[in-house]
Amino acid sequence: MPHNHPETELHNPQSTKPPLDPHLKALENEAIHIFREVAAEFERPVMLYSIGKDSSVLLHLARKAFYPGRVPFPLLHVDTGWKFREMIAFRDEIVEKYDLDLVVHTNPRGAAENVTPFSHGSALYTDIMKTEALRQALDAGQYDAAFGGARRDEEASRAKERIYSFRTPDHRWDPRNQRPELWNIYNGMIRKGESVRAFPLSNWTEVDIWRYIQAEEIPIVPLYFAKKRPIVERDGMMILAEDPRLELLPGEVKREEVIRFRTLGCFPLTGAIRSGATTLDDIISELETATVSERQGRAIDRDQSGSMEKKKREGYF
């Protein structure tokens, strides 16, 4: 949409969507409020964009919050170099379509020291290519606020995090000493070098995300929908086998299965699920009867209880 609106054009003519139900509407209102508050109070906000479903919702809410203006901050994608191919294609398409500013950062150590999920193991790889890379990118951009799509229902330490989550100059989170956060009055006062991570989706659940994607017709990466795809089985996970850098280990065989992904990250560390869900309706009903949580398919979260807190203290999102 153009930025200058003759008055008659303000009505969005394609909109035939029924109004949101009160539950989603309340979540949307809260998120928009947070976006506007951060944009007004901070000098250099940035939005972490990971291309997944939560990021897609986050971006949609940002566009809504600042309409009819442009999204007044850049998107930051920390690219490990090991994302699914379809994710990168989707990212570029969205940036073009919505006229967004995108910053992409990859930790130079990745190439220099050849850090891969295979050579360094998931924990160290994540530490270098995600956590360290994020810190580099935030420092380089001198961002004083970073939006993230984390939800409190994802994990026990996230359930404890404030909507404005304060970070020291070296990006550390001190979970024992968070600022009180009363009502919807957010304290955005920081010193130079300190920053805040802001989480507009804090109170959303996984089902809320999907129901909102459906209600608002938000585009998402096709990998979320079931399709016959090539996979190999490794460490009890089904890994997508389309990237030539994935070398088969002795005994591993490539085969085709109808699968989809419940979360998206780096392809060697993200497990697919067997599923026939090809529509949003299918996904939602699958979710409502799911017996395992969404983090289950992620290698990096499975190390031990408290591993997420540890990563977060060190600056992971």
Binding site: H11, Y67, R152, A156, P180, L182, W183
Partner: protein
């Protein structure tokens, strides 16, 4: 009367243990806002265990999470061989090491009838600030008491903070009833004691339930097998029928978060409606400037709307060029908030430094941040329920204060509007949030421009003063009057110090 109305009427009755059976579904899960509730009460009374049990019994715990719980509970299993349900909530390493809750955990679950956002708050006095964080947005409080121990000072503190923050529905969960051999008289004694406290706080909606959080009795499943004497509702039944806070009824309020100027032809004021409603054509006033304009459009991403109500995040377009900036409040012209330089408030001191008299803090309310000087007036004594004079407020104190501003401040009373009546104080030295407060009234600007007007100080018996203040004449000029309640001795002392 419809079925839910009967149940709510029953909830209203504060003098009896409420008795009713589960009703037909009130509404489908997604047809309404979720109920926001907190658990509170003294340390170790079983708050986290109760919520863990609630999540467990409503099937909100997935298989992989259950497996993790079993693994984490290993070795620390209780006599009953049940997992340590509190570990579903106490997710921080420090919490697990110490076996206590430090910060609020927010969890989401639903039944066939509705969805819930629960904040599990810490009982430890040191972390009262985190309890206040959870309480500020809650519709209902589940207050836990250990059946063996009864009400403690911390129980009273939590009940008081919850009430100050506007919670009017309480569930008293008399927990660990299994450890009293399901002693009915113990349950009734504690319920009675709490009802007295609740009444003194002005709370009438109390449901008392004997509970074993650990064994899951009267949480989701009834505990009839062990407590045949109890025929009231389970916890979940009460929660399903509780009401969410209705949008307050004062006039339209829009605290301006940002001004949107994407091009020459468009100028909109962005914010979340904090009260009342608005539609094109309405006359509004911009505060503090007092300029007047009319609403021409309510813009949102999807469509130009013909009305917006409390809670809606909108962009408002006005019919003329007026000076509006972040922190201003756009309000209904015929129902304006209070503006002034001096207000009375109640607050909870949240940090070790307490609240110091004369210190200049930042006050943030809505999108408005301004300098304020805070004069403590009194502090609540939790044991007696009395307000005692205080010059400063230590951490965790509940106090009454006077707020003195350099520039015009804009508020509603918290009782009237939970958004425009609430504020936080920020210490400019540490940038930390040091208090959460609720506006009670505007103060006459006695020391300000009217300093030379003549005034009369009267000392009256309390009953006579109450009668006078109830008159229409008095009520009409309430804003011009300052009232302090003191003892006769203190009054004599004060009068003696005045010559004239």
């Amino acid at each position: 009367m419809t079925a839910p109305a009967i149940a709510n009427a029953a909830l209203d009755d504060a003098t009896e243990v409420v008795t009713y059976t589960a009703q037909e579904p009130v509404r489908a899960t997604r047809d309404s806002r979720p109920l926001r509730l907190i658990t509170c009460g003294s340390v170790d009374d079983g708050k986290s265990t109760l919520i863990g049990r609630l999540l467990w019994d409503t099937k909100a715990v997935k298989e992989d999470q259950a497996a993790t719980l079993q693994r984490d509970s290993n070795g620390k299993q209780n006599d009953l061989g049940l997992p340590d349900f509190a570990l579903l909530l106490d997710g921080l390493q420090a919490e697990r090491e110490q076996g206590i809750t430090i910060d609020v955990a927010y969890r989401y679950f639903s039944t066939d009838k509705r969805s819930f956002i629960v904040a599990d708050t810490p009982g430890h006095e040191q972390y009262t600030r985190n309890m206040a964080t959870g309480a500020s947005t809650a519709d209902l409080a589940v207050l836990l008491v250990d059946a063996r121990v009864g009400l403690l000072e911390q129980t009273r503190r939590h009940a008081t903070i919850a009430t100050l923050m506007g919670i009017r529905q309480f569930v008293l969960a008399v927990n660990k009833i299994d450890l009293t051999n399901y002693d009915r008289s113990r349950f009734e004694q504690i319920s009675h004691e709490f009802r007295e406290l609740a009444l003194s706080l002005g709370v009438r909606q109390v449901t008392a339930i004997p509970v074993s959080a650990l064994k899951g009795e009267n949480v989701v499943y009834d505990g009839r097998a062990s407590m045949p004497w109890y025929d009231g509702p389970t916890l979940i039944e009460v929660l399903e029928l509780a009401t969410t806070r209705s949008a307050q009824t004062v006039g339209f309020r829009l605290p301006v978060q940002r001004v949107s100027r994407p091009g020459e032809s468009f100028r909109g004021y962005q914010g979340t409606v904090a009260g009342g409603s608005v539609k094109p054509g309405d006359s509004v006033v911009i505060l503090p400037s007092g300029m007047v304009a009319n609403v021409t459009k309510i813009v949102t991403f999807d469509l130009v709307r013909n009305a917006a109500v409390a809670g809606d995040a909108i962009t408002l377009v006005l019919d003329r060029q007026v000076d509006v900036s972040r922190g201003d409040v756009i309000a209904a012209i015929d129902s304006q908030p209070m503006t002034g330089l001096a207000f009375d408030a109640q607050l909870v001191a949240l940090q070790p430094e307490g609240i110091q008299p004369g210190k200049r803090y930042w006050l943030k309310s809505g999108s408005r941040r301004q300098r304020v000087q805070v004069q403590p007036a009194s502090q609540l004594d939790l044991k007696t329920g009395k307000w005692n004079h205080a010059d400063e407020l230590p951490m965790n104190a509940i106090g009454k204060v006077h707020l003195i501003f350099d520039e015009q401040a804009i508020f509603d009373a918290y009782e009237q509007n939970r958004t425009t009546g609430a504020f936080i104080l920020i210490d400019p030295d540490t940038n930390n949030t040091v208090a959460g407060g609720m506006i009670t009234a505007k103060r006459a600007a006695l020391g300000g421009i009217h300093a030379e007007e003549s005034r009369v100080i009267l000392s009256l018996p309390a009953d006579l003063a109450d009668q006078l203040m109830a008159t229409e004449l008095f009520a009409g000029r309430r804003e011009d009057v300052e009232v302090r309640r003191v003892t006769a001795g203190k009054a004599a002392e004060i009068i003696d110090t005045i010559d004239g």
